[in-house]
């Protein structure tokens, strides 16, 4: 029943215009969501890091309203979610620390220093371990989020930015921005097992749900590198809009934020052909998809918005104003 109510809330949240089509659509959705929630909950909330506002805006994704604002400090940018979605981990490059947020309580549970330029951050899916990329030390730090202790550090390429862990937890990947490569690191041995070349200046990195492919957004060459993680080889390069920042995956498509173009470029992940461009707010940056693949949410740094894209129609269906300078760099949905 809860999932049926949630489905109605999603539709009614979109406003009056959509009311006539709500009834039939919701009935279909309710059954689909019911099946999905039995296995795992879909995305209910977004935790948007506001770099200028020094806070996290918690957005209720059913109603697309800001439910809470959590003050942090330190110009927060990178974000990750614990495997059980109970905690959000936020990297603040100015104060050089990581905040651990209790997601339900909306409070900062802990904060601790990490390196000299923490930005990209990711969490292991099952272990209490987070990985923090240090822009200046050219390292990936392994951190215990419960104690705040740094338990390891692995050399990467120059200025690692995006970080992602494979769904099985076996490997962690960094997009090494100033080395034009991805480092693939074994999480058990903490050894780098592969270096894969990318386009010019890779920033965000996203791994698909099966752990078969990784996608990097290459800021300077205006394209996305598609990497086969089994073969550890590049299988394609897809041109996108100007100054791409990050990639989300939903419904067999990749959604790429183009900062300068103010668009999200969509391409088919099988054919690697463009499927459309969606106009969004100024400086679109962090982007992430719900697990059911129906919606993608994007943070727009210049316009201070979180925008909701319908994957089936490739249109923005809702937007909400969040704090100042939202970046949401990493996994920001729970």
């Amino acid at each position: 029943m809860a999932s049926i109510r949630a489905a109605f809330a999603i539709r009614t949240g979109l406003g009056h215009r959509l009311a006539p089509i709500c009834l039939t659509a919701c009935l279909v959705w309710a059954s689909a969501l019911g099946a999905a929630t039995a296995a795992e909950p879909g995305a209910r909330e977004a935790f948007v890091t506001n770099q200028e506002g020094n806070s996290v805006s918690v957005v209720d994704l059913d109603t697309m309203a800001v439910a809470a604002e959590i003050p942090l400090g330190g110009n927060p940018a990178g974000i990750a979610m614990s495997g059980d979605r109970r905690f959000a981990y936020v990297a603040a490059p100015e104060s050089k620390e990581v905040f651990v947020i209790d997601a339900e309580a909306r409070t900062v549970a802990r904060r601790f220093p990490v390196g000299r330029g923490p930005l990209g951050i990711a969490a292991h899916p099952t272990k209490p371990t987070i990985y923090v990329a240090d822009w200046y030390e050219h390292k990936l730090f392994v951190v215990d989020p419960e104690s705040g202790k740094i338990t390891g550090g692995i050399e990467t390429g120059q200025s690692p930015s995006g970080v992602a862990v494979t769904p099985d937890g076996a490997h962690v990947l960094t997009a090494d921005r100033d080395s034009n490569q991805v480092s693939m690191i074994d999480t058990a041995t903490l050894q780098r097992v592969a270096v894969i070349p990318t386009g010019d200046r890779p920033f965000g990195i996203t791994i698909d749900a099966k752990g078969e492919r990784a996608y990097t957004a290459n800021v300077r060459s205006n394209d996305v590198t598609v990497i086969d993680l089994i073969a550890r080889k590049v299988v394609g390069t897809v041109p996108v809009g100007r100054r791409p920042y990050a990639v989300a995956l939903a419904g067999g498509k990749a959604f790429v934020t183009d900062q300068y173009a103010e668009t999200v470029t969509v391409f088919d992940t099988t054919t690697l052909k463009e499927a459309g461009k969606i106009a969004v707010g100024g400086y679109p940056e962090g982007i992430s998809a719900s697990k059911d693949g129906r919606f993608v949410w994007v943070a727009c740094w210049e316009d201070n918005t979180l925008e909701q894209i319908d994957v089936s129609t490739l249109t923005v269906v809702h937007r909400v104003t969040v704090g100042a300078g939202p970046r949401a760099f990493g996994e920001f949905l729970r």
């Binding site: 200028e52 330029g117 200046y136 300068y260 103010e262 740094w301």
Partner: protein, 177 residues
Amino acid sequence: MVRAVAFWCAVVAALAVALPASAHGPTRKKHAETIEINAPADKVWAAIGNFADWSWHPAVEKTEATGNAVDATRVLTLKGGGKITEKMLKRDDAKRTMSYEITEVDVKVLPVNQYSSTVTVTGDDKTSKVEWKGAFYRGFMQNDPPPELNEEAAIKAVSGVYKSGLDALKAKLEAGG
């Protein structure tokens, strides 16, 4: 003794204030300026929307451009020396807006990195409003910038370029130029 404690308190207080401001990595900043001009919006757009000629800006000595469409590049030679190379990113004449980025500039000329900017004209056949906004990083991209290349210096420089430009544009167009 009391004086010594007071001295150290002052030092500690000064450090506490100084350290967080100086010892950090770069964060992208945004800055915008607007101005109202008593001239038709189309006329204002004809001036500021002409990527190939920005002689209306008091700092610009010469504009050398490859065109006036997306992907066009231009070199602005500034009065007193210094050059800025820019590239047009977006243009919409119906909406009277264009965006461009700086592809090459010495931080001694303008203390910014990864600078992009948008100019937009709104209004009617009598009055207009111009918005000039930019997004950029400071001049020094490593940790611990010198004061002339920190965030405050970048914002001050960009604000100066926008304000002096918009003031001159208003004066020129309201004079019937």
